[in-house]
Each structure stands twice: as C-alpha cells, then as structure tokens.
Symmetry: C2
C-alpha cells in the first residue's frame, strides 16, 4: 500500500542520517542503525541460522497471518478501487461500472447520490473513502466469527486460562496508539471474551475513578454469586506502555514525548493509584491485582513487570520475552518451558514474592509465564511474516475509534482508539488521534473516518437509546472541535452500538446525524 511504502522510505532515509550503534537491551535506549533495519534481538535468521523456537505455535501463527492478510486486504482494496474510480469518473457508464467494481471488490454498493453527478464536478473521493471505510468495518464485524474461527479457540490464553490463574476479569488499558490495538489476540495471544475489557488511552493513562467504578461493578457481581467460582477469583488491571527499539526517540509513545522512562513511571503511578483508591475505600486487601506490560511495537516483544508481594511495581525490574526467546532457542519444548518457568520463579524470588489475595498463591506469576510463552510465538510471527521487524514502525491506522473498544476487530495499526464518554473529558486523547490522521489522510485530501462506538446493557430499559444519543452527542462534539476539517467535508463519522450481552455487535446506526446539542 502506498502510505506504507512512502513511510517506510521516509523512515529509512531518516535512519540513514543517524549514527550506527550495536543494539542495546531492555532498559537502555538503543539508537537506530543506519541504512538497514536493526536485527531482531530475539533472533536474526540467515547465515545458516533458523529462527524456529520449539514453543512457537506454527499453525496458530499461520492462521493469524492469514487473518491479518484477509482483514488488511479488505481495507487496502479501498484505495485501489478508488484509484480506478478516479480514472473512470468522467465516463458515461461510470455509475454502473463503479457499482459493479464495489460489489466485486468491496462487497457493497456506493450510495447513488455520491456517484450520479460525478460527470459534473468529479466524485467526492473523501466521501467515498469514508463510506467504504465504514462499510468495510461493518463487513469485518459481520465476518468476525468466521474470520476468527481458525485461531480464536487456539489462542493459548482463554477465559478459563485466566480463571485458572485466579482472574475473573481482565481489564486492559493499552496506549490509544494503533500499534497496540492488536495486543490481545496477537501480542498476548489472549482470546476476547465477556470478561476481557479494553480501555485505551493516550499514554495508557487510564481513568482511576472510572476503573474503580468498573471494579466495583464486578466486585458486587462476584459477591452476589454472579461470577462462577468468584470466591477464589480476582480482578486484574493491566496497563500496557510501548516503545520502539528501532527508533526510540521518535516512534515510542507520543503522549510521553517518546520518553520510555516517563511512559513506565506514569503507567505505574496509575496502577498504584488504583490499588490505593480501592484499598482506602473498601479496606486493605480489597484492591485488584495489577500488572504492567511493555511492548516493543517494532517487534511485538513484551516485557512484564510483576508486582511484588506488597503490590509495588518496579520500573527497572521486568521479564523480557525477546531475551527469553534468544536464551531458549534450540531447546526442545519441555526444556525451553522449564527454563522459562525457572526465569519467572527466579524473578519472583528476587522481588521477594508476587502480589496475591491469598498467601502463597502465585497466579500472577503463572499468568506471566503463560503470556511470555505466548509472546514467543508472536516474536516469531514478526520474524517470519514481517521480516524480523514491522515494515511500518510508525502510524498507519485506517480510522479512529472513539468510545468503547471493538472486540471483533483487533489488529495492529488498524485504528487509533480513544476510550472516552465525552469529548470534553477525552479531548487530549482525541487530539493525538486527529494529529496522526493529519499526517495519514488529511494531507492527502482523504477524510478522517471516526467511528463512535458505545456499549450498552440490554438489561437496562432505554439504555440502547441513551447509548445512541451519547454517540450522536459525541460525534457532534467531534465535528465542533475539528470544524476546520468538518467544514471541508474531511471528517466523516458514524455511530455504532453494541450490547454488552451480545444481542447486537457494533451495529452502525443508519439515521443521519441529528443536529444535537448545538
């Protein structure tokens, strides 16, 4: 795809001006190498060397790669189709040919009004692009069950796995950055379920008050017997920061000025704050479990910071998956797994124990071992299917998702996700997303597609109507905030809602936007 190629060329050019350095491991900033990609620190294939780790699930990697190609292909066809339409737009049979091409390549039709005066002034390419984007999102959501059939149940971390590690609810706050939006199925190989919640914020700076509310809701469900086996299970909050080993000063977390130490410190402060909030309110020991994870977005390799027995996280103490991959490469599966478990156990001993509700329970350490092992497959996925390092290490998102996450569509760089209830509260997160799209779409004359998505409970009377109204209100506020784009037809938004209990999923609301609130 064009954007990608152009970005890649730009990044190579930028890198060429920087001094060459050997790669330095976790905790120390690595400068990017000149002229060609840095080797993958886990393993660089070539010169008789194969990167095939015994713990990699090769079949799962193949299924995920096929999924990635299918979904990316749907979005990448859009630009290709539009370029063809551009060439055809002044032909007499343009409408018929445009519809036929869309049906064939994109599986939808264009709204007639968007085509039939093309012969006068040309088509509104930005409008067609946005329409195609929303229709493709709809298609991916509709096809999600079959798209995921080959890999979803094969992911090593399922709801039962979490429960076996003592976790009834996994509440994950990655950065809003598109590069983190595939973190669950790909990077952590964790299956979506009712009890996995993703709330992305710029810089992973989640909202302590809101998280305390979410914890309260689940804790009450647990105490009233609504969670099977809840008496032995706990709530786990995970914050996920990110960094770039290729280009640490530029492709790390923008919300923290690409300064990794700041990103780690800020996420740790929120996790400690959430624990204190709940311990101080409901009594010591009530606080949820916490974990901090770092992702090298060039490689999808993770670091896990486990909380010590007192619940403290440590910025400079973590388990590094790329190192573990390298150290266990060539061992058979049993030996490699043993080494991995020994590494986790040694780390826990160094910490003086790991946080748990019941003394001696090492559920978090077991989950860390599972995620590290799962991540070995993802490290190899990037080595094998992305030449050791993603071609586009920067932004390449297709749209902005505002509001609640999209469980049926989780893929790296597919969208930027700002979790918010109102633009008033979430404007900082949104501004970062719009700034990214200023580079990706707007400068090229393509629109900024914004999907506003809210989840409601079908058990609450009127909740769907209120979720739709909230979506429309948020979309109106987005139009007002970015009026300079909206007025030029470069902001296209749609509202979608999902039922928490599965009666509908990312249902696009058909009604045109009512003029609300202004």
């Amino acid at each position: 795809m064009d954007t990608r190629k152009r970005q890649l060329a730009l990044q190579r050019a930028a890198r060429a001006t920087l001094p060459r350095h050997g790669l330095q491991m976790a905790g120390v900033r690595a400068e990017p190498a000149a002229s060609q990609p840095l080797p993958n620190p886990a393993c660089a294939p070539g010169a008789g060397r194969s990167c095939r780790h015994a713990l990699t699930d090769v079949a799962l990697n193949a299924a995920l790669h096929s999924y990635e190609q299918t979904v990316r292909g749907r979005f990448e066809s859009i630009e290709d189709v539009l370029r063809t339409l551009s060439a055809w737009q002044h032909e007499r049979d343009f409408v018929e040919r445009a519809q036929a091409l869309a049906r064939q390549r994109l599986d939808f039709e264009w709204p007639l009004a968007a085509l039939d005066s093309a012969w006068v002034a040309g088509v509104d390419m930005a409008a067609l692009h946005a329409h195609a984007m929303f229709e493709t999102i709809r298609r991916c959501v509709t096809l999600a069950p079959q798209d995921g059939a080959a890999w979803r149940d094969r992911l090593p971390v399922q709801a039962e796995t979490l429960r076996a590690c003592g976790v009834h609810t996994l509440d994950v706050s990655p950065c809003a950055d598109g590069r983190l939006q595939g973190v669950l199925p790909f990077v952590l190989r964790t299956a979506p379920s009712d009890h996995v919640v993703v709330k992305a914020y710029a810089g992973a700076l989640f909202d302590i008050e809101l998280d305390a509310q979410d914890w309260t809701q689940r804790e009450l469900e647990r105490l009233t017997g609504l969670i099977d086996g809840g008496e032995r299970l706990d709530y786990l909050k995970v914050a996920i920061y990110h960094f770039s080993s290729s280009h640490p000063e530029h492709e790390g977390c923008a919300a923290h000025g690409s300064h990794d130490a700041r990103a780690v410190a800020a996420a740790m402060e929120r996790l400690h704050g959430l624990r204190a909030a709940i311990d101080n309110t409901f009594g010591a020991g009530a606080a949820p479990l916490v974990m901090l994870i770092g992702v090298d977005t060039d490689l999808d390799a993770i670091r896990i910071h486990l909380p010590d027995a007192r619940g403290q996280l440590h910025a400079d103490r973590f388990l590094d998956a790329a190192t573990l991959y390298r150290e266990t490469l060539g061992l058979d599966a049993a030996a490699a797994r043993r080494r991995l478990h020994e590494a986790v156990a040694a780390h826990v001993r160094e910490l003086g124990g790991v946080l748990s509700r019941a003394p001696g329970d090492d559920g978090l350490a077991r989950l860390a071992a599972l995620w590290l092992e799962a991540n070995l497959s993802q490290i190899e996925y990037v080595i094998e299917h992305h030449n050791g390092r993603y071609a586009v290490i920067g932004h390449d998102e297709h749209f902005v998702c505002v509001g609640d996450a999209l469980p049926p569509l989780q893929l790296r760089n597919q969208y930027y996700h700002a979790h918010l209830d109102t633009v008033e509260e979430g404007s900082a997160d949104l501004d970062v997303g719009v700034k990214i799209f200023t580079g990706l779409n707007l400068r090229r004359g393509l629109a900024l597609p914004v999907l506003v998505h809210f989840t409601y409970s079908s058990r609450v009377p009127g909740a769907r109507e209120r979720a739709v109204a909230r979506g429309q209100r948020v979309l109106a506020a987005i139009r007002a905030r970015y009026r300079q784009w909206d007025e030029r037809g470069l902001l296209h938004g749609r509202v979608a809602v999902s039922d928490r209990y599965g009666r509908e999923t990312v249902a696009l609301i058909e009604e045109p936007l009512a003029d609300v609130g202004h």
Copy 2:
C-alpha cells in the same frame, strides 16, 4: 429586594387578566385567582380563624425562619451595597469607603484592582457583584455549622430516623429549579448527612446509568460491612417533581412545559427504569426502594406517591399533605398523628401493600408518615412566615451551581442546581439555568455567577487534583458555550471542591482559571 418586588408586581398584574376560579385540589389543574393571592388550601387564617396545627414544631419553624432571614440577608445586602458604591464611585476617597462598607456589611474586601481605576471609567458592577456572590457563598459555607446549630439536630428526620425506616442511603433527585433547593431541610425536614445525596436535574430526569453506579457503590459497601447494620437496610431513590397551584400553566416545571402530568409520568418512568436496571443486572429483588414526591412550590406542600408491593408507582394515587393538614387542624397532637397514620395505612391498603425488601416490612409507609407530619410544619411555616403563599412564586435564584450539590447551603430559590460531570452531557440542564438568569441578572447588566462544585474522595490518590481539573474543564466549557455573555464580562465562574469525607467543604479554588482544553 428589588427583583422580588418587581416580579411580584408583574405576577399580580398577569394574574389580574385571568378569570377567577375556585381552587381545585391535587390532580386537577387550578386556574389562578384574579387580583389577589389564592387562599392556602391547607388553611387560610383570618376572620377569627387561626392556623396552628398541633403537630407543627413552632420552635423549629422560628429557628428555620431566622436562618432563612440571615442567609437571605447576606445575599440581599450585596445589591444594596453595590447601589451605594455606584453613587460613590467617582469620589476621591472611593476605594477606602468601598472597602469599609464591604467589611462592615459583607464581611470581606474588594480586590483592589476592581476599584482603583473607578474614577476613570466607573467600576465594573457586574464583576463586583459576582465577586460578592462568591465571597458570600464562602461566608455561608464557613458559617454553616453555627447557622444551622439551632435547627439541624431538631429536624425530625435524621440519619437514624431513616435507618429506623430501613434506609441506609437517601438519594434524592429534585428538579434543578431553585424553588426545590431547600427541599430537604425545609420541605421534608430532613437533616443533611453523609448518607443523603442530592442530584438535581431539569425535570427531575435523573441519569439511570449514573444512579445504578451510585447504588452499586453503596451496595458493595453494604455487603462488605462498611454500613452499620447494613444487612437490614436498603437504598432509597426519591424523585421530586413540582407544580404551582397559583399559576399551574406558567410556574410549574419548565422542563416539562409546566405540564404536571408529564412531569409525574417522566419521573415515574425513570424510577421504574432504575429498578428494572438493577433487578435485571443483579437479580430480581436487588432493586432499590423508590418513592415519588411532588412539591407545590407556592406552598411547599407535598404529595407522596408510594410504590405498591410490586414497586409500581401510580400517577393519580398519592397522599396529600395540605389535605391532611386541613383535615387534622384543631385536633390534639395524638389524635392528629393517629388520623395521619390511619390515612397512610388506608392508602397502603388501597395500594395492596407497599414495596419492601422483607415481606411485611412497612418502612416506606412509616417514612411517608414522618415526611407528611414534618411537612405540616413547613405548610404552617409558609402560612405564618410567607403570608400563606410565597411572595415570589417564580424564579429568584442568586447563582447557578453546576456539578455536585451544596449540602451546607440549602434554601429555596438560592441557586439553580445542574448536576453534571460534563457540559457535553448536561448542556440541556445548564441552558435552562442560563435562560432563567437571562431574566434575573443578565438583562439588568449583572453577571451570571456560576459556581462549579465537585466532590472527591480524599481516600483516592490524586482525586482532589482531578476534581479541580474537572471543575476547570467544566468552567472552560461553560465559558465556551455561553461566549456571548463571557465576552461581555457577564459570566463569572469559580471552581470549588469538597471532600466526601469532610476534610474540606466547598473550598473555593484560588488559582485563576488556567486556559484548559482550548
């Protein structure tokens, strides 16, 4: 006070043009009488007739009246002082005289910058007015403990009374209308406490999702033993609508077009919705208790709609305090109380029982009886201290309170209260308040004073800073929404925060407004 006199004259003039009617009781619309105020339906003194009900707490009424006069006096002095300053503003010793007068009459000083160029262009009266308003709020909050000393503990409904009726938390949503802002201490004679929460909305249209969250928080506290004796206690949600017997078509609830039946139906729908939301989420029987109360804002007389045994409220079935006053006037206290209890019991029988958690528990009926008896004193308060009917039956608020309620300052028509977290969500409520002040202040060239008040938990790290930031964000959004007033210096806002656990109360934030979010 001037506004009041002018409004009164206008209302009398308006009434004189309408046909005369006999007063019709509850449920039927009464037309206002011509030329003079309607008689109070509970009792009209005069012609040898005295309105002195045996159940009225005369001493409490006297203490509340003294409180009302003290607080109103502080706010009414402001305009008086400003009129004097206006006459002095071009004198050579203006600054000294202005400061001396403010110290003497208002107990604060003016900011020097606001006075010392008065000789050039005159003083900015709107700015002084707003400054005085916030300083007077601060003074009322500071003096609240002593101002309330004579009556607070004498109020018949204390936290223990609520507990004796099976209620651990009373969550009240009156209309945002200023005439409802004294409803707890005056109309229901209910003492403020940690476990009484007021969330006012235009039309009493409270937020079901937010209330479900508040219920969830308290329910978890109850189940984890943080509420003494919580195992036998329940959460009670009360919605309070209002109407005007003098001028039903114009001085009822503006949010419902002064249409009483609509106000009742809408509040009932929310209460039923809240019960369904919680029953459907946590299992049948989990839902909180509910009650609907109507207030005739001309008389402060209440109607109580009790839920039947299935939790259903009925628009046309209620207990009417003015009728009970009239029917029991002249009886001794014991006989009057017996008649009142008989009336409640008969009503409950007609309903086929009253909603309760445990079968046979009649806590809600007992609470209704207590509130009805308490309201007899308030009915007499209006008869005795306000000539049978408030002189100003319409709006006469002094400021707008946005965000969380102000427990230390609860007085009829003292402020308009819009409970909200963001302007984006609460703009409709806010617009109603600003519209009211367009009539009260803005047309006269006085500013719209907006106090943005948020409560935080000192048990949550960083919560105070976030509450202040929220306040500043909301104030910035208010300035943006009402730019036409702000740009002309006619919108003055201040942020205040209170700790839920009492470490600080309505603390005005001194820092000038930072330029946030724009």
